[in-house]
Symmetry: C2
Subunit: 425 residues, 2 copies
Amino acid sequence: MTSPDSAPSVDLGPAAALSCRECGHRVPLGPVFACEECFGPLEIAYDFSAYDTEELRKRIEAGPANIWRYAPLLPVPADVADKPNINPGWTKLVQADNLARELGVTGGLYVKDDSGNPTHSFKDRVVAQALEAARAFGFTTLSCSSTGNLAGAVGAAAARAGLRSCVFIPHDLEQGKVVMAAVYGGELVGIEGNYDDVNRFCSELIGDPAGEGWGFVNVNLRPYYAEGSKTLAYEICEQLGWRLPDQLVVPIASGSQLTKIDKGLKELIELGLVEDRPYKIFGAQAEGCSPVSVAYKAGHDVVRPQKPDTIAKSLAIGNPADGPYVLDIARRTGGAVEDVNDEQIVDAIKLLARTEGIFAETAGGVTVGVTRKLIENGLLDPSLTTVVLNTGDGLKTLDAVASDTGLTATIRPSLDSFREAGLGS
Amino acid sequence: MTSPDSAPSVDLGPAAALSCRECGHRVPLGPVFACEECFGPLEIAYDFSAYDTEELRKRIEAGPANIWRYAPLLPVPADVADKPNINPGWTKLVQADNLARELGVTGGLYVKDDSGNPTHSFKDRVVAQALEAARAFGFTTLSCSSTGNLAGAVGAAAARAGLRSCVFIPHDLEQGKVVMAAVYGGELVGIEGNYDDVNRFCSELIGDPAGEGWGFVNVNLRPYYAEGSKTLAYEICEQLGWRLPDQLVVPIASGSQLTKIDKGLKELIELGLVEDRPYKIFGAQAEGCSPVSVAYKAGHDVVRPQKPDTIAKSLAIGNPADGPYVLDIARRTGGAVEDVNDEQIVDAIKLLARTEGIFAETAGGVTVGVTRKLIENGLLDPSLTTVVLNTGDGLKTLDAVASDTGLTATIRPSLDSFREAGLGS
């Protein structure tokens, strides 16, 4: 018997093994997500030992304008950029001077705008990773449970890769979301039940012969999938000129994105690609689904599940798997976790659009709103460099702003009517 | 009196003057769009004489991942990348192997996917140019008439630049489009009338003191605005490895985009950045608004206006200003102009989504549908390298595909129900 590390059966680049986040137990790379010893979450362990810092930096800078520029740091084969995938990433880091003025930030404020991804949310990053893992493991169907952004990302990625896709959603989703998920031509199955029922069913399917050959991006491919969020950290630092920001404001759904951004920043420090100095990570939730924020404020280490009721549906996970890790990171780095209510979310969406021309999804309203609140509370230092994440696109959550966003005036097509309405220069 | 060329009053980089497309009369750079001699359209005349080919290529390749990498070839100041703008472009050129197989293209098929722009349409390219011209001329309000994509692009660009915006639309637009245009916080004025009434009113406003200081991106800033489409040609060639494609399929609304793509390709040849060899440009229209296609097929040089009736609303210009130029280019290059009906547009949207994971606006359905038709007709050679433009995002025209895009099946959350529906692997 060979050791798990010495003979990985698949080529996923620098990925050496899966390692349990809780007990450190290592197993070979495979489509598993929970530790056989302690049921803790498995994550990718890498072998970066061969890298020379400056060679690596040059290799990255010469790479494609998408996440595959970081292939040496991801669980993907070295030739990943040549395979059909949706190639997300290298989205804009917008220098948000107008927003900074409104919020009183003097140390530099940036919005990492992931609405520029192929299906207009950060989910393209994680799905692109899961797709490579699915290929490596010989899966022929890409699947997931979803209520929105993820469904589109999986449908699009599978289409490009020539894999079958089968996405499970609650049967009573709004028609617009169904269309966005269905247009890529994969199978889209409505489950009579709520999102929890959909998830439970998917877990059942993984253990059944009917699910053989199926890669569920956020279940049995989760360790690979989750690594996609590291690329947000890489891009932010490279776009800042290989520099760590002082403060980051990151939305919390399952909490996975925030923990992987922290992992990515630590890797850049260890690899010598950025200077080793402190950074603070702040978590952002909607008040209507704020289990991590509530636990943070109460000083708890565990997260008590909530029943979500918020317009920020892409963040509405009442029982976030990575909640305890998020609490640890926020406390360890000197950050915090905060939440805003629906009205504040809408105000923040409009603020970002009005100041920077970026139309964010409700999740972007959450991070911008929380940034404002953290400054008011004195928890976020406006004199430090701050990066706020927008992880999705306002076109997908038009309803959130529709009720009070409309015409300034209605006039007849005449100069008289124009002047009567007080519209002149 | 100095000659118009010797003393441009504004710094717009290599732009030397405005030149009439019909009679060649030159005037200094300014916010004018029609020749004072013959009423022909004015366009930008450049001075590229100082460029060394290889130095220029290196300068472009070292530039930012947006249209400003081509600043040396555009009417913008050299430091344009440092000013607040929405920085569109450098969108993906997707190697569409799956679509190629379906269409029988063997020479290489690519989709230039402009849904990746900041407000998810190619309009960001032209508005970003107009914004720079507006700044150069000291305008304080950015304006336009629009029924959709342009309104959002103007609103977003003005917000980023800190200019006032005032956009005019027909008062009875669908609520979704109104929200997309209004969210950026500028003034959005509904005009009681149709799009023609809106346009007429805008022309009146330009001549009135009430419109002083206003830059209408597609009227008095049109010569600058239109140049933005050249960047599509530049990017396509650079992304192909500084190579001309053999064939391009471009949508026709006013026809400006197609004529400027031709201009961009010719500039690259003249500058030595690509090899001088033939290329064919094909124009694509919707049957319900096909004045150029009708004229092309009839062998006419003039275009007879139509009353538009098509789901491809972003292409629904019944009296396209650049129609005659488009006819000339299609004939001169050995291309053609073709049209597809609404059903074919929807089929093509789905085909592109299913094969490449790209969810296109109706305009993208038009170009993909026309590509298919041109191959069937023998007018487009499937053995040659072909680039098809997708100029917008499917999220903005969900209604076009909503009626027959939905759930594959609805099941109970049980394996039995799953198997009964025939969904197993």
